[in-house]
């Protein structure tokens, strides 16, 4: 199994979730994160003094999926999360050795 981690723009979350649902991904976990990258933050003024907002709000999606699904998951995310503008985000893939469903104890791909 693989974990596909995508850092996306927050307002595209629903699109990505729907796209993943369509190709059979039945579970995802979402974390609110702050991203720092090529997309630069902006400077704000508050009472005449500056402050730099350099961490931008991003949404991280983790989906653990069977190896066979990885490519289509990546494609789906790219399709749904791409606006063509800088800061669209990244997808990282890592190996997952084991998955267990807490309720039933099922393990492996069964558990997803």
């Amino acid at each position: 199994m693989k974990k596909v981690t995508a850092i996306i723009k927050p307002f595209l979350l629903d699109e990505v979730r729907d796209a993943l649902g369509e190709i059979g991904v039945r579970g995802i976990t979402v974390t609110e994160v702050k991203g720092f990258g090529r997309q630069k933050g902006h400077t704000e003024l508050y009472r005449g003094a500056e402050y730099v907002v350099d961490f931008l709000p991003k949404t991280q999606i983790d989906a653990v999926v069977a190896d066979s699904l990885v490519d289509s998951v990546i494609d789906s995310i790219r399709n749904a999360a791409s606006t063509g503008k800088i800061g669209d985000g990244k997808i990282f893939v890592t190996e997952v050795e084991q998955a267990i469903r807490i309720r039933t104890g099922e393990s492996g791909e069964e558990a997803l």
């Binding site: 704000e44 003024l45 508050y46 009472r47 005449g48 003094a49 500056e50 402050y51």
Partner: protein, 429 residues
């Protein structure tokens, strides 16, 4: 029947004082909300605690000694006690005699208790100004000790020189009588607001800026307030309460001239605040390119402070103009103070101090009883006394207990170190 008329007049004037006093008391909530909105969430419980405590301490101290020092009303309000319920017949006789002497259109005759109630809430206002300026880094108990001295002594002594009619000086040492030389401060642009700001400035200088406010190479960093709805609510509360602050300072309602004067004061107070808000919003838009809500709020407050020294003589159009200028001054003053590395999280020194002086200086334009020289003298006397006395008290506190929380406590937030309690335990990250 003349007696009944005097009784009604007494009742009306007393009630008017009480209603105005309740409105000024309400300003304590306004300061609490304004300051709680403009600090960071990690210092919010502490600023709330300070505000509740300072109001309460002001009431206790003014009752114990302050009212005596300022108006000779007796320690522990010994004077008021007597006209309580026990000797109702004496009270009525006394009032009727006073009223007859004053005449229907003469000085106001009203309940001593209502007078104290109205005066005591002013003390708290002066003190509230301080809490905002020293927010987020001062030790709670050091602040409260200062509060005891300020509301029991520093303010009442100054108030005695101005509204109390006492000569400037102590004991046999008398310098001059501000009232006699033509100093006029209707509701306290100087006596209350500048005084509060002077005490705040002394504290801010000794305390230093919040960690992270200024960079090593002169950079100025913003530390945004955590809760702007609260700050806005606080400003509206202050705006409302100010009708009592200025309106009550006419000191009499119960004849045509007085009632009309009260109405003019309400109108002008509102006009000046409105113009101040609009002007600060526009100035901030031009200077910063954005509509800065907090500046609009400060602008409204600046308009209120500016008109406070004389809300009864300007025409409404002039009141609006004064407010608009105050709104402009306050934006520049806030920006300028930061250049001097004075860190005042809520802008109290600008709003109450800088604009307080402006308010004093414009009185002669509409009130021919006041002179520029007397106004300036008054401003200098008030500022000097309050600043120096406060500076000494802060300094003693600093030497004896320390007035600043540690760097680590400041990082964690004054709420945890001073109150052991977060203001928003479930929300903050």
């Amino acid at each position: 029947m003349q007696e009944q008329i005097f009784e009604l007049q007494y009742a009306i004037d007393t009630f008017y004082f009480l209603v105005c006093g309740a409105l000024v008391m309400w300003m304590a909530a306004g300061f609490a909300m304004l300051e709680a909105g403009l600090v960071r969430s990690k210092s919010t419980t502490e600023i709330l605690t300070k505000n509740v405590a300072l109001y309460s301490i002001s009431c206790v101290m003014y009752l114990l000694v302050g009212y005596q020092l300022m108006y000779g009303g007796g320690y522990l309000l010994a004077g008021i006690e007597n006209d309580g319920a026990e000797a109702a017949a004496d009270l009525v006789a006394g009032v009727l005699a006073d009223s007859a002497e004053a005449g229907f259109n003469g000085d106001s005759v009203y309940s001593d208790a209502s007078d104290f109630f109205f005066q005591v809430v002013f003390v708290a206002t002066a003190m509230s100004i301080v809490s905002g300026a020293v927010a987020e880094r001062m030790k709670l108990w050091a602040f409260l000790l200062f509060c005891v001295v300020m509301t029991g002594f520093i303010y009442p002594i100054e108030g005695g020189w101005t509204w109390g009619g006492k000569p400037v000086g102590f004991g046999d040492f008398e310098l001059l009588n501000l009232g006699d030389i033509g100093f006029s401060d209707f509701a306290g642009s100087g006596i209350v607001h500048l005084a509060g700001a002077a005490a705040a400035l002394a504290g801010v200088i000794l305390l230093g800026a919040r960690k992270g406010k200024f960079g090593r190479d002169g950079q100025i960093y913003a530390i945004p307030g955590a809760n702007l709805p609260l700050a806005t609510l606080g400003t509206f509360i202050l705006w409302m309460g100010w009708f009592g602050f200025n309106g009550g300072s006419v000191l009499k309602l119960g004849d045509v001239a007085s009632a009309n004067s009260v109405a003019v004061v309400f109108l002008n107070t509102n006009a000046s605040a409105a113009a101040g808000a609009v002007s600060a919003l526009v100035v901030a838009r031009l200077m910063f390119g954005k509509a800065d809500l907090t500046m609009a709020l400060n602008g409204a407050l600046a308009g209120l402070v500016a008109i406070t020294a004389e809300p009864s003589t300007p025409t409404p159009a002039m009141a609006s103009l004064f407010g608009a200028i105050a709104g402009l001054i306050v934006v520049y003053s806030i920006v300028a103070l930061e250049k001097f590395r004075l860190d005042d999280p809520v802008g109290a020194i600008s709003v109450h101090g800088v604009v307080g002086i402006f308010g004093l200086m414009i009185v002669p334009f509409t009130n021919s009883d006041a002179t520029f020289i007397a106004q300036a003298t008054g401003a200098v006397v008030i500022f000097t006394w309050v600043f120096i006395a406060s500076f000494i008290v802060w300094l003693l506190l600093k030497l004896i207990f320390g007035i600043r929380i540690s760097e680590e406590e400041e990082y964690e937030g004054a709420d945890v170190s001073e109150c052991g309690m977060e203001a928003y335990p479930e929300f903050t990250k």
